[in-house]
């Protein structure tokens, strides 16, 4: 069963078609990837899914529920959460506060509860704090909860951002280049972590990734975008052989040369 279905999604910026009639289906418990050269529209597509952009045409469904046109907080409440290509933590809040903000949709205490601190609010807050600490532990940041998030090392910031997204208890997690700026060993660690995420939490993951090693190693299905259009879709093995994909990445000459060599 598909967790996410995108049909015919088109997004225009002035005269530029950032996305043209993109179709995508993400299966339950899958790890799927979107790849493509710079400017292919990958992040734009994420922004359309999360409601940050409203696509001009097409529709996006989360488990058969139409989510196009909803604001991003509504989409999040329905079970999609994301991370960002350039880390966007709440820099001047502590790690644990970042997670607590991520848990926002599940906290019910209102303003009055916050002022009066009745027993229910206190209990909820205590539970939330315990849960936040568990999440920190899960992403490998146990004991770092009181650190300003901007003072964390780069890799830890990436993990914290994932932790914040997980705090939303999403059904679908969107990761935008989770290994950007990482060295090979950190990349390997992150790749393993993404697999572990899916297996232990039973969620579905859609990621944008540039490092082929990560993409090929982890994804069950890969979608390739180029100039806003879907040019290929398939398993890692299929994508590796696809001449249009090679063309898009390396240029026409390279593609023909390569296909001759493999032939």
């Amino acid at each position: 069963m598909a967790v996410l279905t995108a049909k015919n999604v088109t997004k225009r910026f002035g005269g530029l078609d950032a996305l043209q009639k993109v179709d995508l289906e993400v299966k339950e418990h899958a790890i799927q990837s979107i790849i493509g050269p710079n400017g292919a529209g990958k992040t734009t597509f994420f922004n359309c899914i999360t409601g940050f952009y409203n696509p001009e045409e097409g529709e996006i469904l989360l488990e058969n529920k139409l989510i196009t046109g909803l604001s991003s907080d509504r989409v999040t409440r329905l079970g999609i959460s994301r991370t960002y290509q350039n880390i966007r933590l709440f820099k001047n809040m502590t790690a644990v506060e970042n997670i607590l903000v991520g848990m926002h949709p599940h906290l019910k205490s209102g303003m009055l509860g916050g002022i009066l601190r009745d027993s229910r609010t206190n209990r909820d807050e205590k539970q939330a704090l315990d849960e936040a600490k568990r999440i920190l532990q899960f992403v490998g940041l146990a004991g770092k909860g009181d650190m300003m998030s901007k003072n964390l090392p780069y890799g830890a910031q990436r993990r914290l951002e994932i932790g914040r997204a997980l705090a939303n208890k999403p059904r679908l997690l969107l990761l935008d280049e989770p290994t950007a700026g990482m060295n090979p060993s950190e990349t390997q660690e992150m790749t393993n972590f993404i697999g572990h995420l899916r297996d232990s939490l039973g969620i579905t993951i859609l990621l944008i990734e540039h490092q082929m090693r990560v993409v090929m190693g982890i994804s069950e299905l890969i979608t390739v975008l180029d100039f806003g259009q879907k040019i290929a879709e398939g398993t890692p093995a299929e994508i590796q052989k696809n001449t249009r994909v090679i063309e898009a990445y390396l240029g026409r000459g390279a593609a023909s040369g390569l296909s001759e060599a493999t032939a």
Binding site: G39, T76, R77, S81, H104, S109, M111, I115, R117
Partner: protein, 564 residues
């Protein structure tokens, strides 16, 4: 050795320094301030104003010197002071030959004789240059003193000057204490401090501060406090509240009036601090809610308006409701706006409310330029709160409630949402935060406090005028938050005391009030942007070098790709 480019720097610093002193002289500050003694017959406020710039410039120019040896540092500071002194000395010489009083009415012979030490323009100019050179070099040499001693010295000087400035008020205050007052009498001369008094204060503060700064201070990290620390903090808070309750008894009637004004600004500051400090929404029309609170109480309680006439306590809920509603109504159209645009719209909103209160159209209801008179004062039982001392307790009660609410909200679910919104609005929304509700709640809470302040203000004056609802109120509240420390609750108290209390204490300087304000804000932004009593996290934000962990241990080597 000093090379050519640094020489140029020294000269330009000296010129700027001289220019500043000439400016201060021509606006009349030096002359006015020289009538105010700090140490009787020895040091006047004008004296400090004249020589402080030499010292500061000497210090800061020496700080920039790459070579920190005693000789280069002293040379740099001394030369800067010399140039500054020379520039300053040119003013009396110019005044001798050209009549500049037509344009600058403060360029008086008195000013010249202050600048020349009464020694005529040439000899006096020479003395000024020598003195300024020495002071500049002293300022530079100050850099080489160990920081702990330096800070103790600074504190000692600041306290001595403050106490000297407040002499007249302190005398009135201690006179109330009866027999105990004689213990303190010898500190104060007929104007300013006695020399012995100044020396005692100076050394006392210096030694105490030096001793205290020796204790290791914690890094300002947000920490979960232990039980004992919590108890200590609670104890301090209780002590502060008790002090607040006793203040009018200790200080007397004149102070009560000042305290009332400061208190009303604290109340507004607590509200605006939620809007700007917590939620990051720059609201420049904050006075609007204050005005609404004041006018609603006025209309409902004054017999002049003839609509209805109820008591203050009955009118108060309506005033608060009206302010909160206005907060929400203002919030709705500006939901999509950020930063500068939000500031401009709110600024307009504040003006609209003021103009409405002035308008002929609403004159039958709001009294136009005349405002509303005979507003009812609050009663407690059969006691009418009408003296400053009595109203003070009403204000303190309101502050305690507002402070408690602000403090609780800060660490609550809502507080975190506000903070997240301040940090990054888009991401906050993507985390499931409903921006509409979150923004409106910030505006509404801020408006609630301002409405409360306005209602009390109206009752205190027993009148409400459009003139007291002007833009400067908004600006003052904003300034006190900035000076105190954005997002910091104790900062609001400190900021209000400094900005609203000090001009009241130094009445004769009031014509320079906004000049001093402006200078203070500029200096604050340059030297201590986090405010006088900053929120812990804000301190980290603006002084990152203090934090040893600030550097990430693995900086990304690959530059990230632009949006895919």
């Amino acid at each position: 050795m000093t090379n050519k480019s640094t020489l140029k720097q020294l000269f330009s610093a000296g010129l700027i320094n001289g220019g500043i002193i000439i400016f201060l002289g021509l606006v009349g500050m030096i002359e006015t301030f020289s009538q105010r003694d700090i140490v009787s017959g020895l040091v006047s406020m004008g004296f400090i104003l004249l020589f402080l710039p030499f010292f500061v410039f000497g210090y800061s120019i020496a700080k920039k010197e790459p070579d920190q040896s005693l000789r280069t540092v002293l040379f740099a500071g001394g030369l800067t002071g010399l140039v500054a002194g020379f520039t300053t000395a040119l003013l009396p010489i110019l005044g001798q030959f050209v009549n500049i009083r037509d344009m600058f009415m403060n360029a008086s012979p008195t000013l010249y004789s202050i600048l020349n030490f009464n020694q005529g323009i040439y000899l006096g100019g020479l003395i000024l240059m020598i003195v300024s050179g020495i002071i500049g070099a002293l300022g530079a040499g100050f850099l080489l003193i160990p920081p702990r001693l330096r800070n103790a010295f600074l504190q000692a000087v600041v306290w001595t000057v403050l106490l000297g400035l407040m002499r007249d008020l302190l005398i009135v205050m201690i006179a109330r204490w009866g027999a105990i007052s004689y213990i303190f009498r010898w500190i104060f001369a007929s104007s300013g401090l006695t020399i012995t008094g100044a020396l005692v204060i100076f050394f006392l503060v210096g030694v105490v501060y030096y001793w205290r700064s020796g204790k290791k201070q914690d890094l300002p990290v947000k920490k979960i406090l232990s039980k004992k620390q919590k108890n200590i903090r609670f104890g301090k808070l209780v002590a502060a509240v008790i002090l607040m309750l006793l203040l009018p008894q200790i200080l007397g009637i004149y102070f009560s009036e000042i305290l009332d004004n400061v208190g009303i600004y604290i109340l507004m500051g607590l509200g605006l601090n939620i809007v700007i400090g917590f939620a990051g929404l720059l609201d420049l029309g904050y006075v609007a809610f204050f005005a609404i609170g004041a006018y609603v109480v006025g209309v409902l309680t004054s017999p002049e308006m003839g609509v209805i006439q109820i008591t203050f306590w009955q009118a108060l809920p309506f005033a608060l409701l009206a302010s909160v509603t206005a907060g929400v109504i203002l919030g709705l159209p500006v939901l999509k706006m950020r930063g500068d645009y939000l500031a401009i719209v709110t600024l307009g909103f504040g003006e609209i409310i003021r103009l409405l209160s002035l308008s002929d159209w609403l004159r039958p209801y709001l009294g136009g330029t005349q405002g509303i008179q005979r507003i009812a004062r609050p009663f407690i039982g059969s006691l009418e709160l009408k003296t400053q001392g009595q109203l003070y307790y009403l204000i303190v009660a309101a502050i305690l409630i507002a402070g408690f609410i602000a403090w609780r909200l800060k660490d609550s679910h809502m507080g975190r949402s506000w903070m997240a919104m301040r940090e990054d609005e888009d991401v906050a929304q993507a985390m499931g935060i409903n921006l509409v509700a979150t923004k409106l709640s910030a505006f509404a809470t801020g408006a609630f406090f301002a409405g409360l302040a306005g209602a009390i203000f109206a009752a205190k004056l027993s009148s409400a005028y459009p003139q007291s609802m002007n833009l400067m109120v908004s600006i003052n509240v904003l300034c006190l938050i900035i000076v105190g420390g954005m997002g910091s609750i104790p900062g609001v108290f400190v900021g209000a005391l400094v900005l609203m209390g000090s001009p009241e204490l130094l009445r004769e300087f009031s014509e320079f009030r906004y000049l001093v304000y402006g200078a203070l804000l500029v200096v604050m932004m340059l030297v201590r942007p986090e405010g006088l009593w900053p929120e812990a996290r804000r301190k980290l934000e603006l002084h990152e070098s203090m934090e040893p962990d600030a550097l990430p241990n693995d900086i990304p080597t690959v530059t990230e790709n632009p949006a895919g």
